[in-house]
C-alpha cells in the first residue's frame, strides 16, 4: 500500500495546490481579494487613463488612426493592447478655459454644492436630533417616509418642479382649478437647483446624522443645557462637534453628489451657459458644437472638473470611512 506522502508526491501541481489551499484557506482568500481589487482598480482607473490619453492628443490626430500602436518586434508586428496618446499637447488644459469660460461652470457647481451642503447639514441636523434623541410615537414611520423620498427616481419630480419654477401659472390645489399662489420664476437661478438637490439628498444625511446624534450620551447634552445652552445650542455646540465623522460623511457625500449633478441642472438652466448657472457637465458639453466635437478639450475639462472631488475625498477619506462604518459598529 502506498502511503499518503507518496500519493501526494505523485500528484500533479493542481492537486498539490488544492491540498495546500485546503490547509491554508487564507491563501485563497488573499488571492481572491487581489483579483477583485485589481478588477475594480482597472475598471475605475482605466477611464481616467483614457481621459488623459484623449486630453493630450492634439486635436488633429484624434480621429486619424488607432490609439493602439502597432509594435514591431524582431520582424513580428502586433498591436499594443493599451491605448497611448498620439502626440503630446498639454495646451489643451489651457485651451479649455479659453474656448469656454469653464472656470465659471466650475464656480457654479461649487456654489451649488456648497449651498446645498450647508442647507442639508443644517436641516438634517435638526431632523437627526429629533430622530436620534427624542422619543415620540410614529418616529419609525416618519423616518421611513423620509427615506422613501430618496427611493423615487428624480425624473418623477422634474416636470412638476419645472412648471413650478417657471413661475408662469399659479399653483393650484390638486384636481381643482383653485389657485394658491404664483411662485417666483426660479429657472436659471441657483434656487431652482438648490431646492430640489436639498430635498433629494436630505434623507441620506438625516439617516447618517440620526445614527450619530443618537449615540452622544444624554449626560453631555444635559450638561450643556445646565451650563447655559438651549437644546438647539447643545446640538450645535456639543452634539455636532462630537459627531464630526458623521457630519463629515454627510457633507462630503452631499457635496460630491451635487457637484456631479447634471440631470436637474441641465433642465433648470434653460441653456448650458455659465450665466444661467449651468454646472460643470453643461460646460463640458459646450465643447461640442453643431459641427465639431473637441474630444480633447472635453477630456481635459473632465479631468480638471474631477480634481477638486479627488482632493476632497483624499483629504476626507479617513473620516468618511470611519463615518460610514462607525455608525453601525459603535455600541
Amino acid at each position: 500500500m502506498a502511503t499518503t506522502t507518496e500519493d501526494q508526491s505523485s500528484d500533479g501541481p493542481l492537486q498539490r495546490w488544492t491540498q495546500s489551499a485546503i490547509k491554508n484557506p487564507e491563501k485563497v482568500y488573499r488571492a481572491l481579494f487581489y483579483a477583485a481589487m485589481i478588477f475594480f482598480l482597472v475598471t475605475t482607473l482605466f477611464p481616467f487613463y483614457w481621459l488623459v490619453v484623449l486630453a493630450v492628443t492634439p486635436e488633429g490626430n484624434l480621429l486619424a488612426g488607432s490609439f493602439l500602436p502597432t509594435v514591431n518586434l524582431f520582424g513580428v508586428s502586433g498591436t499594443f493592447p493599451l491605448p497611448v496618446p498620439k502626440g503630446f499637447n498639454p495646451g489643451a488644459f489651457i485651451n479649455v478655459f479659453q474656448e469656454v469660460p469653464f472656470h465659471l461652470y466650475m464656480l457654479n457647481s461649487f456654489a451649488l454644492a456648497i449651498t446645498t451642503t450647508v442647507i442639508v447639514l443644517f436641516v438634517a441636523s435638526l431632523a437627526g436630533y429629533v430622530f436620534g434623541r427624542l422619543r415620540f410615537p410614529g418616529r419609525a414611520l416618519l423616518m421611513l417616509a423620509i427615506l422613501a423620498i430618496s427611493y423615487f427616481p428624480p425624473a418623477a419630480f422634474v416636470i412638476p418642479l419645472f412648471q413650478a419654477f417657471a413661475g408662469n401659472a399659479p399653483i393650484t390645489i390638486p384636481f381643482t382649478n383653485i389657485p394658491l399662489f404664483t411662485p417666483p420664476r426660479l429657472l436659471n437661478t441657483p434656487g431652482s437647483m438648490v431646492l430640489p438637490f436639498s430635498a433629494l439628498f436630505m434623507p441620506l444625511s438625516i439617516f447618517i446624522l440620526t445614527t450619530f446624534y443618537g449615540q452622544i450620551p444624554d449626560g453631555l447634552e444635559d450638561a450643556a443645557r445646565v451650563e447655559g445652552t438651549t437644546r438647539l445650542g447643545a446640538l450645535f455646540r456639543v452634539i455636532m462637534p462630537l459627531s464630526a465623522p458623521g457630519v463629515a460623511t454627510a457633507s462630503v457625500l452631499t457635496f460630491i453628489a451635487v457637484y456631479n449633478e447634471y440631470f436637474f441642472s441641465s433642465i433648470m438652466a434653460t441653456s448650458p451657459e455659465a450665466t444661467k448657472w449651468s454646472p460643470i457637465v453643461g460646460g463640458i458639453l459646450s465643447y461640442q458644437t453643431q459641427y465639431t466635437t473637441q474630444y480633447n478639450l472635453m477630456a481635459a475639462a473632465s479631468i480638471i472638473g474631477v480634481l477638486p472631488v479627488v482632493i476632497l475625498v483624499v483629504v476626507a477619506q479617513e473620516r468618511i470611512v470611519s463615518g460610514l462604518t462607525s455608525g453601525a459598529l459603535k455600541e
Binding site: L220, R225, T229, T230
Partner: protein
C-alpha cells in the same frame, strides 16, 4: 438667598401604556447654604427629583421654587444652578479651560473676568497647570475635579450633584468626600447631592432626605435618621450593616417574638396596645454578649443563640447569630426572625458554631407597626425617663 422648595412635585412617565410614577407628591424645603443628600435605592426617584430641580425634567404636577422664583417651567440655563453629573459629562472635544469656561463664554463674560474665574476655580479644586489638557488625558479623579470646577466657576445659587463620586475608586471617593465638604464650607451655597450610598449621605450632609418608590420617607439630620428612623424603610436603609428586624406581638408585659421575649411595659408607651403586631428593630452595635451585661445601660434578658458566620472587619467583628432551631427563614421582606447580626469587639474569643448568650440594649430598641411600617417608639424605657439618667437605672428581666 437660594432656598429651594418643591411643592407637590409629581412626575409620571408613560411607559408603553403603563403610567409609571417616578416622583410622588414630593414636598421639600431646603434652606440656603444647606448640604442636603437625596438617598435611596435605585429607581427611588432621587435622580428624577433632582432633574426637576435642574429643569431637565418638567414635573407633571407641582411647582419648584429657587429663591423666590417659580422656576417650574424655566429652562435649566435660567435657573441659576450648576450640576455635576454621575458620568462626569465633560465635553470631550474641549480642553479643561474650555470645559470650565463653557458656561461663562455662553453668557458673554469679558475675557479677563473669565480668566480670573477659571483660575480661581482651578485653584479651589487643585487643577493648576492642567488647563490645557484634554479630558481623555486625565484620571477619573482629575476629571471629576474639572466637572466640579465647571460647576463652581459660574457661582451658582444651587449646586446639584448627581452621584458625582459613583464612578471613582474607593480611596479616591473618600478623598473627594472631604474635598466636597471643604468646598461647601468655602462656597456657602446650597448643595443638593444625590447618592445611593447611605454612608456618603451620612458623612456629607446637614440633612438627609430618604426616598423610596418616588416618595419622601424622612428628611432629618443624619443622626436623627440613624437613631430615630421614621419607618422600617429608613431604619433598614440607613446604617451599614443594616438594622436587625424581628417580628413580634405585644403582650401584657413583653414583646413576644418567635425565639425570645423582651420585657417591657406597653402601657408606658404611647401608640401601642396589647395584641399589636410590631416589628422590633435593633442595630448590630446595640447587641452585646451576655458577659458584658453589667456594662449595658438597660439590658434585656439573655437571649440564647448560636454563632453562624463571623466577618472580621479589623476594628470589629460582625457575627451572624442563629436563634431557635437555627433554620433561617425570611418571613417578610425585611424581617429575619431567626437571625441577628451583632457587632462585637475584635478581641473577643468567640468562634463560629459557638453557643452564646446575648443581651440587647433596650434604650435603642425600635418598634415599628408591622402593617404600616411606621415607627412607634425608639426607646423601650417608660416615657419620661431621661437618657442621661439611664446609667443609674437598672432593671431586671426574667
Amino acid at each position: 438667598m437660594a432656598r429651594v422648595r418643591l411643592e407637590h412635585v409629581t412626575k409620571r412617565y408613560d411607559d408603553q401604556g403603563d403610567v409609571v410614577t417616578a416622583v410622588d407628591d414630593m414636598n421639600l424645603d431646603i434652606a440656603h447654604g444647606e448640604f442636603i443628600c437625596f438617598v435611596g435605592p435605585s429607581g427611588c426617584g432621587k435622580s428624577t427629583t433632582m432633574e426637576t430641580i435642574a429643569g431637565l425634567t418638567i414635573p407633571t404636577e407641582g411647582q419648584v421654587f429657587i429663591g423666590d422664583r417659580d422656576v417650574t417651567n424655566l429652562p435649566p440655563k435660567d435657573r441659576g444652578i450648576a450640576m455635576v453629573f454621575q458620568n462626569i459629562a465633560l465635553f470631550p472635544h474641549m480642553d479643561v479651560y474650555d470645559n470650565i469656561s463653557f458656561g461663562l463664554r455662553l453668557r458673554d463674560y469679558p475675557q479677563d473676568e473669565i480668566d480670573r474665574r477659571v483660575e480661581r476655580a482651578a485653584d479651589i479644586v487643585q487643577l493648576e497647570g492642567m488647563l490645557e489638557r484634554m479630558p481623555e488625558e486625565m484620571s477619573g479623579g482629575q476629571r471629576q475635579r474639572v466637572a466640579i470646577a465647571r460647576a463652581i466657576v459660574r457661582e451658582p445659587d444651587v449646586f446639584l450633584m448627581d452621584e458625582p463620586l459613583a464612578n471613582l475608586d474607593a480611596k479616591l471617593k473618600v478623598h473627594m468626600r472631604t474635598e466636597l465638604q471643604r468646598l461647601h464650607k468655602e462656597l456657602d451655597t446650597t448643595i443638593i447631592y444625590v447618592t445611593h450610598d447611605q454612608e456618603e449621605a451620612m458623612t456629607l450632609s446637614d440633612r438627609i432626605a430618604v426616598l423610596d418608590s418616588g416618595s419622601l420617607q424622612q428628611i432629618d439630620p443624619p443622626l436623627t435618621c440613624y437613631n430615630e428612623p421614621d419607618n422600617l424603610f429608613v431604619a433598614g436603609f440607613i446604617g451599614s450593616p443594616s438594622m436587625n428586624f424581628v417580628e413580634g406581638t405585644v403582650t401584657e408585659d413583653a414583646l413576644e417574638t418567635p425565639n425570645f421575649s423582651l420585657q417591657f411595659d406597653p402601657s408606658s408607651i404611647e401608640g401601642i396596645s396589647v395584641g399589636d403586631s410590631v416589628t422590633l428593630g435593633i442595630r448590630p452595635e446595640d447587641i452585646y454578649p451576655a458577659d458584658l451585661r453589667d456594662e449595658v445601660a438597660d439590658p434585656s434578658g439573655i437571649i440564647q443563640a448560636r454563632t453562624d458566620i463571623l466577618e472580621p472587619m479589623g476594628d470589629e467583628i460582625f457575627a451572624y447569630l442563629l436563634l431557635g432551631d437555627g433554620e433561617t427563614s425570611m418571613s417578610q421582606e425585611m424581617a429575619t426572625n431567626d437571625q441577628l447580626l451583632m457587632s462585637i469587639d475584635p478581641d473577643s474569643d468567640i468562634e463560629e458554631e459557638d453557643e452564646v448568650g446575648v443581651v440587647i440594649d433596650r434604650r435603642n430598641v425600635h418598634l415599628f407597626d408591622s402593617a404600616s411600617g411606621e415607627a412607634i417608639v425608639h426607646d423601650l424605657r417608660p416615657v419620661g425617663t431621661d437618657s442621661s439618667a439611664s446609667g443609674s437605672e437598672v432593671e431586671t428581666d426574667d
